[in-house]
């Protein structure tokens, strides 16, 4: 369902609004944030150099390291008394990146998250089970405020305590669930183990995001949880969840909410803007954020933009499923490998549970990749030749699809850690 009039804008209307919002933004960040003044000056550009949208490509990028260098509040464009909330990214190395919101930012975010939930089919009558983690991570509170804005009933479960979550779903009868896709599979597995028939539950739609996932995973979740699975995208630096979301009508890639975020795709090596339809790294400029505006922020997420009008009526660019992150990308013996590609191969195997771990190591000067797969009842045979041919088939399919050979190791069930939020799929033991 469509919540805001901007969602129905034509490409021309969208671009007109973007230009109108971008001009004062560039001036504001130049005046208020020392980082942008220096970065624009170094690149030899002035805010007034922008007269058309395409002029944006002359402006410098902002990268994650810039946010770290200005830790914690150096990138804020308003005095701290106007900041009503902060969130921080789940940085595993070093300091997290901190983002701030004014009262108006929180309101905008709630509206965009409400728009996302509405486009996924939720209404003010919905009961929304929110399994995203609450806290510094933007997922929990982001979805929460959106659900409230929509007027729905929100169940703020957060992550973990999986059996209890199943019980709450049985008892509270939510029609919408929000969580990471890997946690959705964990819920399905635990539910099945508890003897729960998901067909008998009230869930209709799942809004899943915060980590890359695949079409195979979507059909797996839809089959096991008996829901329509909707892809939502966001990152804390840009706002949080609700930067883009799929529509229930087409379920064909998330629409970027371009009235608030200007999206570009660039060649990650040269930094040049690529045409819609060509794969590239997503780059966002926030158009309406007050406390933490970002100019040309490089996400490291690889995608492709589609600006054709969608079946739902929106003209807002759809970003094809993020196939990987430039920093998730593994280079194995010189070949670029994304964990999502390995997942694609694995989920083609009948009976294979979507629990796997990729272990990369180096023996001498040779990179090695081992893919661990849990033995399920459906895969098991008591004849060694059957198990051998299973491992061989997977090995062959990986080689075929990726051009890189991997060792396939069959492991006992439930020995690979389950997701309580974002799934960890790769362990890189190489010391380079």
């Amino acid at each position: 369902m469509i919540r805001h009039k901007e969602e129905k804008y034509s490409r021309e209307q969208i671009e007109e609004l973007q230009l109108e919002r971008l001009k004062p933004l560039l001036q504001r960040v130049y005046d208020k944030v020392p980082f942008y003044k220096k970065s624009f000056d170094d690149a030899g550009v002035k805010p007034s150099d922008l007269t058309r949208l395409s002029d944006l490509s002359r402006f410098p990028f902002t990268v994650k390291q810039d946010l770290r260098d200005n830790y914690p509040f150096g990138m804020f464009a308003v005095p701290m008394e106007e900041v009503v909330r902060v969130h921080a990214s789940s940085g595993t190395t070093g300091k997290p990146t901190v983002v701030g919101y004014t009262k108006k930012d929180i309101d905008t975010w709630g509206e965009l998250m409400a728009r996302s939930l509405a486009s996924a089919g939720a209404t003010s009558k919905s009961i929304i089970h929110n399994g995203y983690g609450y806290g510094l991570f933007t997922g929990g509170l982001g979805a929460h405020y959106g659900a409230e804005k929509l007027g729905a009933t929100v169940v703020p479960v957060s992550g973990g305590q999986t059996q209890r979550q199943i019980m709450l779903i049985q008892d509270f009868k939510p029609d919408v669930i929000c969580c990471t896709p890997s946690y959705a599979l964990n819920l399905a597995e635990v539910g099945e183990k508890m003897g729960v028939d998901f067909k008998s539950l009230s869930l209709k739609v799942g809004v899943f995001g915060a980590e890359p996932w695949s079409e195979n995973m979507r059909s797996e979740i839809e089959r096991r949880m008996n829901v329509k699975a909707i892809d939502i995208y966001g990152l804390s630096e840009v706002m949080g969840p609700g930067v883009s979301c799929e529509c229930i009508e087409a379920q064909a890639s998330p629409h970027v909410y371009e009235d608030h975020f200007l999206v570009e795709t660039i060649n990650p090596e040269t930094g040049e803007v690529v045409a819609p339809g060509d794969p590239g790294e997503l780059v966002f400029t926030t158009l309406t954020k007050e406390a933490f505006p970002l100019i040309r922020y490089r996400t490291k997420d690889i995608s492709r933009l589609n600006i054709d009008k969608c079946a739902c009526g929106r003209c807002m660019a759809r970003m094809e499923r993020v196939t990987g992150r430039t920093d998730d990308m593994l280079i194995i013996r010189g070949v670029n490998v994304f964990p999502s590609q390995i997942e694609h191969v694995l989920l083609e195997v009948e009976g294979l549970e979507p629990h796997y771990m990729i272990i990369v190591d180096r023996e001498g000067s040779m990179d090695t990749m081992e893919v661990q797969i849990e033995m399920s009842e459906k895969l098991f045979s008591d004849e060694m030749k059957e198990l051998d041919s299973l491992a061989n088939k997977i090995r062959h399919d990986i080689k075929d699809y990726l051009g890189v050979s991997a060792k396939v190791k069959l492991v006992e069930p439930r020995t690979i850690a389950r997701s309580e939020g974002k799934a960890k799929r790769v362990e890189d033991r190489r010391k380079i």
Partner: protein, 145 residues
């Protein structure tokens, strides 16, 4: 008469076989015979227990991947030449043995051979004209006492 063998997937690591044994021990299930097929990474533990259904449940509850496989349990005299004679019957009938193992029954004058075939029915048929005894579930269970 086909007999249910338990097959369990275990990683080739210290303590995994012990975990299987402990699970069955705690459930009061006696292992009458056992064989392991192994690779460098993992193994399949195949077992004959008196109550395969209870064994299956105990192992499943403990989180193991386990299945039952239909095998043939045959009683032969515990004497030189007895195995060769049975195998000869299968060779003549063109039946391939996937794997087999043997154990000695308590009464000691008999040995029990456990066979896994691609087609067990054909094997039973081949044995029907001989004096070899194919054991039923109850008879195998009875060997425990």
């Amino acid at each position: 008469m086909k007999f249910k063998q338990l097959s369990v997937f275990v990683e080739n690591q210290p303590g995994r076989l012990a975990a299987v044994a402990k699970t069955l021990g705690d459930a009061g299930i006696n292992i009458m015979a056992m064989t392991i097929a192994e690779t460098r990474e993992f193994g399949v533990v195949r077992m004959i227990v008196a109550d395969p259904d209870a064994g299956m449940k105990a192992l499943k509850d403990a989180g193991f991947t386990v299945m039952t496989t239909n095998v043939l349990a045959i009683e032969v005299p515990n004497k030189p030449g007895a195995l060769g004679k049975v195998l000869d019957t299968f060779t003549k009938a063109g039946i391939n043995v996937e794997y087999m193992y043997a154990f000695v029954a308590k009464k000691a004058d008999a040995a029990i051979l456990v066979f896994r075939f691609d087609g067990a029915d054909k094997a039973i048929q081949a044995l029907s004209g001989t004096d070899v005894k194919v054991l039923s579930n109850a008879e195998v269970a009875g060997l425990e006492n």
